[in-house]
Symmetry: C2
Subunit: 492 residues, 2 copies
C-alpha cells in the first residue's frame, strides 16, 4: 500500500503544533475507535480494515516532499517540521480482529501513545476502518440472504474510486463473498476472481450460437454463458444447452448460464427445468442485475432456481447506508504511562463516552452461542461459570444473570512500543474466522429486518467509574454556572 | 497515480482472449461513455475524472508481476499473455472537458481503437469518471445552496477509502468547494487546505478560555475558534470575543468562530450580534454538523448568519445517491479505420443506444445561455444563426426552432494514435471553467428540486440513422421469429 501519512485532516497537524508549542508534547492519551449506530438497521457490524491500519502505521513517516509541502502552507514552525521529520508511531494498539461481529460503543481499536502521535492517526484509521467494516457487514447480509448460494462481487465500475473497488472487494470477501470480478483485488489479496463475457461479446458475433461456440472453444472448461441478450427461454437457454451438450460430449464440464435481466424467479425456474430435461443437471444458474440482500431474499423466497449471485453497485457502495459513523474519542490522558480516565459529556446521552482504558468481553453459553458483551476496564476478570448479573447502563433495572458461561476477551495486542506484535492472518483465514464468529450469534440477531438487539452492557466497575466522573463534571458545571452562567453542554 | 492496468473486471480479459483466439484481434470498435439518469433528481451532471483517465491510459502497461498473476489463474494462453506484455493503448480518445455540465445520453468520452484495447479500458474509465462526476455534481449543488458562502470539504474520515477521500476532495473542488481538510489532496492537487481544532483540543485544557488562548498563541493570524464545546452563547462566544479582542489589540486579524452543533440558525444569528456589538464585524462564522445542500438551503432561508460551511459525510459519499450509473457501450465496429454504426436494442426504450461516431453540440442564445444540446454525427456542422428546428427523439412532435444561436462542440481530442494531444488544465482552471459553464445554464435547470429538464435532442441525421438501424434489426427479429421463435429482446 502507498504511504498514507499525509492522509489526515489539517486540524490534526495544527493541533499537534499547538500541543508541541504549549508544553503538551509529552502528554499521553488513549483513544477509542467505536461507532454508535448500526448500519442497515441491522443487528451487527463485521469489523474489518485492521490489516490496512497496520500497514498504514508501519509506513508512517513524513517524506521530504511532505515536509516541503507543509512548510509551503506557512502554518508550521521549523521546530515542528523538524519534529515531524523524526515522527514514528511509538505507542500501543489493541484491536478486535477483522471478521469479528461487533456492536455499538465497543472499542474496536484502542490507541495509546503520545498525544502528538495519537492525534495524527485519527483520520486515516477512521477512513480505513469505517469503509471496510461497512462493506464486510453489507456483504455478510447479502451472503446471508443467498442462504448457501455463492455471491460474487461485481461492483468495481461503480465503486467510489480505485481503492473503494479494491478494498471493497477485500471487505466483501471477509463478509463471505466467494469471488470478485476485480482483477487487481485478486492479485493483491488472493481473492478468487470470476467473470466470463458481457452482452457486447454476444453482439460481436453474427448469432448468439456462434458467440456461445466461440466462447466455449476459448474456455471449454470454464464456460458460463450469458443467455439474456436476445430471449432467455426461446433463444439463450436452447443455444446454451446445445453448446453445453457439445462440450460434455467432448469430455468437458459445462459450467452453466447467467441471467442478467428480466424476472429472475420465473426465468431461473424455467431455465432449470430445461437444463434438467436436457441432462445438464450439474449446470449452474447465476443471477445478476441490480441485486441487494432484500431482492435476493425475495427472489429466493419465491423459489428461484439460482445457484450463485453477482452483486454490484448496492454492495460496493453500500447504497442504502453509504457510511459507517465510526468515531475516535479520548478515553484517558496521562504522562509517563500513568493515565486518568476521561469522559466527554453531551446533552445527548448516546454521545457521552465511556471513560478509561477498556476492553470487550464476550460471554458464551454452553452451546457456544454469544449471550452478551461487557465493556469493562482493562484488567477485569470474570470467573467462568460463576453467576454474573449484568444490567443495562441506562435502564439499570433491566438486568440479566449469566450462568454457565465461558468468556473471551475480544481485543488483542497489535502494537507495543511502536512494534507490531500481531501476525496478520491470511485473508482466507479472516473469511473463515468471520463465518465461525457469525455462527456464534443467534439468527435473531442476524435477521435482515428488525433484528433482536444484542446485549452490550458496562461492567459494574466501568459503570461506577462513569457515574463518578459524571457527578464530578456535573458539580463542576454547577460551580461554573455560578461563575460563568454555563447551564448546558453541547457536543458534536 | 499508481498503475491501474489491473483495475479491470476479469471478463474484459477473458473476452480479450476470446477475441484474440477467434480471429477478431484486429477488429476495431468505438465505445461511448454516458449515463442515462441524473443523480439527486437534479438537472445536470458536472463532468469530472478525465485527468485520472488520461493518467491511467498513459500508464497502461502490464508488469511482469501482473503477467505472472494472470498466468497463475490457468485461464490464459501463453500467446495471449505475450500479447499483453506488449499491450499499449494505440487508439483515439475524445472527451468533454472536466467541469462541463452534461446530460443523459451525451457521450462524455469516446474511445476508438482495436477491440482488444477498448474492451480492457471499460472498467477503470467508468470507475474514475462515475465517482468524480458524482461528487463534483454533489459539490456544485452544495455550493449553490450556500449561495456565495464558501464551502469546505471535510469528509475524509467517512470517505469510502483513501482514494475516495483524495479524488473526492479533487472533484468537490471542481464543483466549487473552496478548500478541503484533506492534507494529501492538498499536496497532490494544490487544493487549499483548511482546519483549526477539534473538541478534543478544547477539552485538553482546564478551561475553554485557556484552550482558546493557547490556540491564538500558536496561530495568531489563523485563529478560528470552535465555540460549542460547553455552551455557545454563554461561554464559547464570550470567550472567543475575549481572545479575538486580545488578538486585534496585538495587531492580528481574528478570523472568527465555528459552530458544530445545536441550531445553526439561532446560534449564528445570536453569535453574529454578539461579535458585532464587540466590534468584531469582520470575524466570520463557520457552520458544520451533518450538512448537505438541503439543510444549508433551509438554514439560510431562515436567515442564518453563516459565512462558510464545512460539509462532510453527505458530500464525500454522495449519501442520497451514492453512485452514478455511467455505462460504456459499443457505438461502431470496423476494421482498418472504416466503421459501421452499431446499435443495441432493448425492450426498455431508454436502453436503446445511439449508433455511430458521435459528438455533442451545445447551442447558446445571444446572451450566452445554453438553450439545448444536440447529439450529432461526427462531421455535422450547424451554420450559426441559421434557424434550426430540433425535436425530441421519442415524442417527435415536440419541436423547437432555434434562432440567433451560436454553437460549441463540447468534445475535444485527447488521444490520437495512443499519444496524448491534450494539455491537462490546472485544477484551479477547471474549477473556474466549471463556474463559468454553470453560469451558462438557466437557474431553472440548476434548481435543487424539480429542476427544468434541459433539452438534449438528436440531430436529424443521427435520428434517421437510428431509425434505419432499428428497422433493419426489427426485420431481422421478425425473420428470426420465423426461424427460432424469438419475439422479445431483453437487455441489462
Amino acid at each position: 500500500m502507498q504511504n498514507l501519512t499525509m492522509l489526515t485532516d489539517l486540524y490534526q497537524l495544527t493541533m499537534m503544533q499547538g500541543y508541541y508549542m504549549n508544553g503538551c508534547r509529552d502528554k499521553e492519551a488513549v483513544f477509542d475507535v467505536f461507532f454508535r449506530t448500526l448500519p442497515f438497521k441491522g443487528g451487527y457490524v463485521l469489523a474489518a480494515g485492521l490489516e490496512q491500519v497496520v500497514e498504514y502505521i508501519e509506513n508512517l513517516t513524513f517524506g521530504e516532499e511532505d515536509l516541503a509541502y507543509l512548510r509551503s502552507l506557512n502554518l508550521f514552525t521549523e521546530d515542528f517540521i523538524e519534529e515531524l521529520r523524526n515522527f514514528r508511531f511509538t505507542g500501543d494498539i489493541d484491536a478486535i480482529p477483522e471478521g469479528t461481529p461487533v456492536f455499538p460503543f465497543e472499542p474496536l481499536i484502542r490507541i495509546k501513545g503520545r498525544i502528538m502521535e495519537t492525534q495524527l492517526l485519527e483520520t486515516a484509521i477512521l477512513n480505513l476502518v469505517n469503509f471496510q467494516s461497512l462493506i464486510a457487514t453489507k456483504a455478510s447480509r447479502v451472503v446471508s440472504a443467498a442462504h448457501g448460494g455463492s455471491v460474487m462481487e461485481f461492483g468495481l465500475r461503480r465503486a467510489q474510486g480505485p481503492d473503494a473497488g479494491v478494498l471493497g472487494a477485500r471487505a466483501a470477501f471477509i463478509g463471505g463473498c466467494q469471488s470478485t470480478s476485480n482483477v487487481l483485488a485478486g492479485k493483491r489479496y488472493g481473492i478468487p476472481v470470476s467473470g466470463t463475457q458481457a452482452h457486447s461479446w454476444i453482439q460481436c458475433f453474427p448469432t448468439e450460437l456462434e458467440a456461445f461456440r466461440a466462447y466455449a472453444r476459448t474456455f471449454p472448461d470454464k464456460c458460463l454463458l450469458l443467455v439474456d441478450t436476445y430471449n432467455v427461454i426461446k433463444s439463450g437457454v436452447p443455444n446454451a444447452i446445445k453448446v453445453g451438450l457439445e462440450l460434455e460430449a467432448e469430455g468437458h464440464h459445462f459450467v452453466g448460464i447467467r441471467l442478467d435481466s428480466g424476472d429472475l424467479t420465473y426465468l431461473s425456474r424455467e431455465a432449470r427445468r430445461m437444463l434438467d430435461v436436457a441432462g445438464l443437471k450439474s449446470a449452474i444458474i447465476v443471477g445478476s442485475n441490480d441485486l441487494d440482500e432484500e431482492t435476493i431474499f425475495a427472489i429466493k423466497a419465491q423459489g428461484a432456481a439460482i445457484d450463485a449471485w453477482g452483486v454490484g453497485t448496492s454492495l460496493i457502495t453500500s447504497k442504502d447506508s453509504p457510511s459507517l459513523g465510526g468515531v475516535y474519542k479520548l478515553a484517558a490522558e496521562g504522562e509517563q504511562n500513568v493515565f486518568q480516565p476521561r469522559l466527554k459529556v453531551s446533552e445527548n446521552i448516546s454521545k457521552i463516552t465511556n471513560p478509561g482504558i477498556k476492553k470487550v468481553v464476550r460471554f458464551y453459553d454452553r452451546a457456544g452461542k454469544a449471550m452478551a458483551d461487557l465493556i469493562t476496564l482493562e484488567n477485569e476478570v470474570f470467573t467462568e461459570g460463576k453467576p454474573l448479573t449484568i444490567f443495562d447502563p441506562v435502564q439499570t433495572w433491566k438486568q440479566k444473570t449469566l450462568k454457565n458461561f465461558s468468556t473471551r476477551d475480544l481485543m488483542i495486542p497489535v502494537f507495543r512500543g511502536g512494534k507490531r506484535v500481531y501476525d496478520l492472518p491470511k485473508l482466507t483465514e479472516v473469511q473463515e474466522y468471520a463465518k465461525i464468529e457469525l455462527d456464534t450469534l443467534w439468527d435473531e440477531v442476524k435477521r435482515l429486518t428488525n433484528p433482536h438487539s444484542y446485549i452490550v452492557d458496562l461492567s459494574t466497575n466501568l459503570f461506577e467509574l462513569k457515574q463518578k466522573l459524571l457527578l464530578t463534571i456535573h458539580q463542576d458545571i454547577l460551580a461554573n454556572n455560578q461563575n460563568q452562567g454555563v447551564d448546558q453542554n453541547v457536543d458534536r
